[in-house]
C-alpha cells in the first residue's frame, strides 16, 4: 500500500464515522478522538472500517498507535508491508 | 525622469530600476554595484547608465567575464559588512555562479549557527522574446525559488522596479531580483506604490470574480491584456502578481481562488517542474474544495527557446493562449 492510499483510507474511515468532520483542519499529528469528539463507540466503528477495507487485524492493544492521521497511516503501512 | 515628489511622472521600468540603484548608492556608503559592463558601457541593458560618472569607479565596478568569481567576491564583501549589488547579465550565465549562490550565499548563515549572514543582492535579466536565442532566453527563476536560504523577487511593474530594491538591501538574507528583459522599455506613470512595498505579499493587479490569472514577471502584461479581452467576452478575470517567488504567498493565491473558483497559472518557464507546477500543487492542497474547474497552466513549449522570431513567439505563452485557457476553465 502507498502512503497516500493508507492516508485516504484513514480519512475516509473518519468521515464515515463522523460525517460532519472537517478533515481539512485536522493536523497530521492532532489527536482525532479529541478533535472530532469521537467516543469509544465511534473509535470502534473506525477500527471496524479500517479492518474491512484493508484486511489488517487490529487488536485492542493497537489502539495507542491509532490516535492521529500520521500514526494511523503509519500503522496501516507497517501492517501491510 | 522619476520624481521624488508625490506627483506622477512618466518613466520606464529601466529608469525606475536605475533610480532605485541611485537612491541606494546615495543612502548607504556600503552599497556598491558590480558586474559585466555595468560601468563604462552603462549595463548590458542600460540600467546603470550614468552611475559610473556619478559615483565613481570605487562604487561602480566593471568585472571580468567570470560569474563565479565576482559573485563570490560579492559574497565576501557582504560577509565583511558591505551591501553589494551584483548584476549578472542573464539568468543563463548565472549558472556559472550557481555554486556560489547555492553552496555559499544560501547556506553560510545556516552552517555558521547564525554568525555569517550574507546581505547580498543579485540582479539578473531573465526571459525570452527578443530573439537572443537559447543561451540568453531562458526563465530559470523557478530553479532559484526551489532554494531555501534566499529570497527570490520578480518585479513586474514600474512601481516594483522602483521600490523593491531598498527592502531587498535591508534583508539580511541573499536576495535575487529577476528582471524580465521585455519589461525594461515598459513605460508609464510612476505614482506612489500601487501595491505592497514589502517583499512578502503577492498583489492583485486587477480584481475579478470569474477566474484567477496567476502569474509574475514578464507574463504579467500579457495576463492583464488577456483580462481586458476576456472582459469583452463577459468573463471577469482577476490577475494576481506573485511578486515574490520565494517565499511564495500561498495565502494570496488561496484567497483569490476562493473568490473565483477557477485558476489559470501563467509562467514563461517550462511546464515540467516549474513554479507553475508549485502554484498548481498549492491550489490542489489548499483550495481543493474551492475549485469549480481543473487548474489550467500556460507555460513555454518544452524546447530550448528558438532564435527564429515566429518559432520563438510560438514557443512562449501568449495572450491568446491565456484567453483560451481561461475559457476552458470558465465555459
Amino acid at each position: 500500500m502507498k502512503h497516500d492510499e493508507a492516508e485516504d483510507i484513514v480519512k475516509e474511515a473518519l468521515t464515515d464515522v463522523v460525517p460532519e468532520a472537517d478533515l481539512t483542519t485536522l493536523g497530521p499529528d492532532e489527536t482525532f478522538r479529541d478533535a472530532l469528539g469521537m467516543d469509544s463507540l465511534d473509535f470502534l466503528s473506525f477500527i471496524e472500517i479500517l479492518t474491512r477495507r484493508t484486511g489488517v487485524r487490529i487488536d485492542d492493544e493497537d489502539a495507542p498507535h491509532l490516535t492521529t492521521l500520521a500514526d494511523s497511516t503509519g500503522f496501516l503501512l507497517a501492517r501491510t508491508e | 525622469m522619476a520624481s521624488d515628489a508625490a506627483g506622477a511622472a512618466k518613466t520606464t521600468y529601466r529608469e525606475a530600476m536605475r533610480e532605485a540603484l541611485r537612491e541606494a548608492l546615495r543612502a548607504d556608503d556600503r552599497v556598491f554595484l558590480m558586474g559585466e559592463d555595468v560601468g563604462r558601457y552603462g549595463g548590458c541593458f542600460g540600467v546603470s547608465l550614468g552611475l559610473l560618472e556619478e559615483f565613481g569607479p570605487e562604487r561602480i565596478l566593471d568585472t571580468p567575464l567570470s560569474e563565479s568569481a565576482f559573485v563570490g567576491a560579492g559574497i565576501g564583501a557582504a560577509l565583511n559588512g558591505m551591501r553589494p549589488i551584483v548584476e549578472i547579465m542573464t539568468v543563463n550565465f548565472s549558472l556559472l555562479a550557481l555554486d556560489q549562490i547555492l553552496n555559499n550565499a544560501a547556506t553560510l548563515l545556516h552552517m555558521s549557527g547564525g554568525q555569517l549572514p550574507v546581505p547580498l543582492v543579485i540582479r539578473m535579466t531573465t526571459g525570452a522574446g527578443r530573439q537572443l536565442a537559447a543561451q540568453h532566453s531562458h526563465s530559470l527563476e523557478g530553479w532559484y525559488a526551489h532554494i531555501p536560504g534566499i529570497r527570490v523577487l520578480a518585479p513586474a511593474t514600474i512601481e516594483d522596479a522602483r521600490h523593491m530594491l531598498a527592502p531587498a538591501l535591508a534583508d539580511p538574507d541573499p536576495v535575487l531580483i529577476f528582471e524580465h528583459g521585455s519589461l525594461y522599455n515598459a513605460s508609464g506613470e510612476l505614482g506612489p506604490p500601487a501595491g505592497p512595498v514589502d517583499l512578502d505579499h503577492a498583489a492583485v493587479r486587477r480584481p475579478g470574480t470569474d477566474v484567477s490569472l496567476i502569474t509574475y514577471g514578464g507574463s504579467l502584461p500579457k495576463a492583464l491584456t488577456a483580462a481586458d479581452e476576456l472582459a469583452a467576452d463577459g468573463i471577469d478575470a482577476e490577475v494576481v502578481d506573485l511578486r515574490t517567488l520565494r517565499p511564495l504567498d500561498g495565502r494570496a493565491v488561496a484567497a483569490s481562488v476562493a473568490r473565483t473558483h477557477r485558476a489559470v497559472v501563467i509562467d514563461e518557464a517550462w511546464r515540467s517542474g516549474s513554479l507553475a507546477a508549485e502554484v498548481s500543487a498549492r491550489i490542489a492542497e489548499d483550495s481543493f474544495y474551492e475549485l469549480d474547474a481543473p487548474v489550467e497552466r500556460v507555460c513555454s513549449a518544452e524546447v530550448p527557446i528558438p532564435y527564429a522570431r515566429l518559432l520563438e513567439q510560438a514557443a512562449l505563452p501568449q495572450t491568446a493562449d491565456i484567453i483560451a485557457a481561461a475559457h476552458r476553465a470558465v465555459d
Partner: protein, 469 residues
C-alpha cells in the same frame, strides 16, 4: 374505536410535530408497528401503535405541531378475515436466519419489518394504487434493521436490487451507502460544486451538469438551489452554514434540557457518592474476549460498565424507578437510559430494555445500534420512553469523574469517568491498575446514602467477576 395520540416521549416533552405518516388510511396495523414519525424538541422518533386494527381517518397532517395527547388518527377494529398475516412467511427468500446472539435482542427484531402487510385485496384485477405497490417490491427484505431500511428509503434505493455483504447476505448500511452513491453519480461534480450543494442543501442526484462531459459545476448547483439564486459569495466559506431546521432543533433541544434540568435541581435534593473501581480483571477479561472475535463483535469497557450498572439496579431496586406523586414507585424491569451526546450539542438518552438480562454481546450490539440511530437516524418511541435509571459515561470525553443531575422523575443517575492508570495497593503491594471512578447522584427523598453506597458496592463487586456479567 381507538385513537392513536401524540405520545409523551419523555418527561420533558409537551408537544410534538407530526413529520410523516408511515401508514395510509385503510392499512392494517399490529401492535408495535411504527405508524408515524414525530419530531420533538430533541429528536425525530418513529412512533409505534399500541393497538392492532386498521388505520381509519388520519386526523393530523404532516408538519402540524400538537400537544401531547392530541388524537392523530383513528384505529378501527379489524374484521376477522383481515387479520394481517406475518409478511415474511410466504415470501421469505432462501436467506439464512440471523444468528440470534448478535441481533436477536434488538428491539426491532420483535417485528422484523415495518413493511405494510399486503392487503388481502392486493392481488385482484384492479390492483392497489401505485403507492401501496411499494410494499410488494420490498418482498423478501424483512430482516434489515430499521436504519438500513430508512436509509434505503431516503436514498430511493430498492433493497431488492442491493447486494448484501452483511451476515447471511443482509444488506448493511455500507451497502446502502454504496448503492446510493452509485445511483447519484450521474456525472462528475467539481469539489466546489459539491461543497456548495451541501451548503445550499441541494440534492446532487438528478442534477444535469453543463461542464465538460456533463460535469456538475457551481452554476448548476446554484440554478438548482431553492429560493432566490445565491450570488457568488466573495469570501471563502468557513463552516457549512447550519440549516434552519437544524438551528431550530438545536435551540429546541437546549430549551428542553434547560427546563428539565432546572426542574431537577429545583425539586430534587441530590446527594452524591463516588468510589474508585479496579478494572484490571474486567479489562483483562474483555481483551481476551475481544482477541478471539472479529472487530464487529468486540466489546467496549462501556458495555461492561452498563451491564454492571443494570445488574446492580436489580440488586438495589430502591434506585430503579420513578418519584411520582410524592412517593417512589419501583419499576419492574431495568430500563437503562444511556446518555448519548450528539455532535453539535445536546443529548438524548435512549433506553436499553431489560439491560440486566442482556448478554454482553447483545447489550453491545444494541448499544451500537441505539447510539448510531440517536446520532444519524431515528429512534423508536419505545426506545426513548421511561428509562428507570440513567447512566452517563463521560469518560469517553476524557474526564475522570462525573457528578450528574438526575432526570426527573427518575431517582438516580450513575456516572462513569475515564478508565485511567493509577497506583493501586493490592495485598500490601503497590501496582499500577486501570481504575474507573463510579459515581451516583441520588434523590434524597427516595433513598438515603446507605442505599446509594450499597449500589456502588454492587457495581464494584460485579465488575470483579466479568465472566459472570
Amino acid at each position: 374505536m381507538a385513537e392513536f395520540t401524540m405520545p409523551s416521549l419523555g418527561a420533558d416533552m409537551d408537544e410534538g410535530t407530526l413529520q410523516e405518516w408511515l401508514v395510509h388510511a385503510g392499512d392494517p396495523v399490529r401492535k408495535g408497528d411504527p405508524v408515524a414519525v414525530v419530531e420533538t424538541a430533541k429528536s425525530t422518533i418513529e412512533v409505534e401503535c399500541f393497538e392492532a386494527g386498521r388505520i381509519g381517518q388520519l386526523l393530523v397532517t404532516p408538519g402540524t405541531t400538537v400537544p401531547v395527547g392530541t388524537p392523530l388518527a383513528r384505529i378501527e377494529p379489524l374484521a376477522e378475515a383481515d387479520t394481517p398475516t406475518e409478511p415474511e412467511a410466504p415470501a421469505k427468500p432462501a436467506r439464512p436466519p440471523r444468528p440470534p446472539a448478535a441481533e436477536g435482542a434488538r428491539s426491532t427484531a420483535r417485528k422484523p419489518s415495518r413493511r405494510k402487510p399486503t392487503p388481502l385485496q392486493a392481488p385482484t384485477a384492479t390492483g392497489p394504487p401505485p403507492d401501496h405497490d411499494h410494499a410488494v417490491e420490498h418482498r423478501g427484505h424483512g430482516d434489515e434493521g430499521p436504519l438500513v431500511r430508512h436509509l434505503a428509503e431516503e436514498a430511493g434505493i430498492d433493497l431488492d436490487t442491493v447486494h448484501g455483504t452483511g451476515r447471511g447476505g443482509r444488506v448493511t448500511r455500507a451497502d446502502v451507502g454504496r448503492a446510493a452513491a452509485a445511483a447519484r453519480s450521474p456525472a462528475r461534480v467539481t469539489p466546489y460544486a459539491r461543497r456548495l450543494a451541501r451548503e445550499l442543501g441541494v440534492d446532487l442526484r438528478g442534477l444535469t451538469g453543463t461542464g465538460p462531459d456533463g460535469t456538475v459545476r457551481a452554476s448548476d448547483v446554484r440554478a438548482a438551489a431553492p429560493g432566490p439564486t445565491t450570488p457568488p459569495t466573495p469570501q471563502s466559506g468557513g463552516g457549512v452554514p447550519a440549516r434552519a431546521s437544524a438551528v431550530r432543533r438545536k435551540e429546541g433541544m437546549r430549551e428542553a434540557i434547560a427546563g428539565l434540568m432546572s426542574r431537577a435541581n429545583r425539586e430534587i435534593p441530590h446527594y452524591y457518592l463516588s468510589t474508585s473501581i479496579d478494572m484490571a480483571t474486567a479489562l483483562d477479561w474483555m481483551h481476551e474476549h475481544n482477541h478471539h472475535r472479529p472487530v464487529g463483535e468486540r466489546l467496549l469497557p462501556a458495555a461492561l460498565l452498563l451491564k454492571a450498572a443494570a445488574r446492580a439496579a436489580r440488586e438495589v431496586p430502591e434506585l430503579n424507578g420513578h418519584w411520582l406523586d410524592g412517593r417512589f414507585a419501583a419499576a419492574e424491569e431495568v430500563r437503562l437510559g444511556v446518555a448519548v451526546s450528539l455532535r453539535g450539542g445536546g443529548l438524548v438518552a435512549p433506553v436499553l430494555r431489560n439491560a440486566d438480562a442482556l448478554e454482553l454481546p447483545q447489550l453491545m450490539s444494541q448499544l451500537k445500534d441505539l447510539v448510531a440511530r440517536a446520532r444519524n437516524g431515528r429512534l423508536r418511541g419505545s426506545e426513548v420512553a421511561d428509562p428507570t435509571l440513567t447512566v452517563t459515561n463521560l469518560g469517553d470525553q476524557g474526564v475522570e469523574a462525573v457528578l450528574g443531575v438526575i432526570y426527573p422523575p427518575q431517582v438516580a443517575l450513575v456516572g462513569f469517568g475515564r478508565v485511567v492508570e493509577r497506583p493501586w495497593a493490592v495485598n500490601g503491594l503497590l501496582g499500577v491498575r486501570p481504575v474507573v471512578t463510579a459515581s451516583l447522584s441520588a434523590d434524597h427523598r427516595a433513598t438515603d446514602g446507605a442505599v446509594g453506597a450499597r449500589y456502588l458496592t454492587s457495581v464494584d463487586r460485579l465488575l470483579q467477576s466479568p465472566e459472570e456479567l
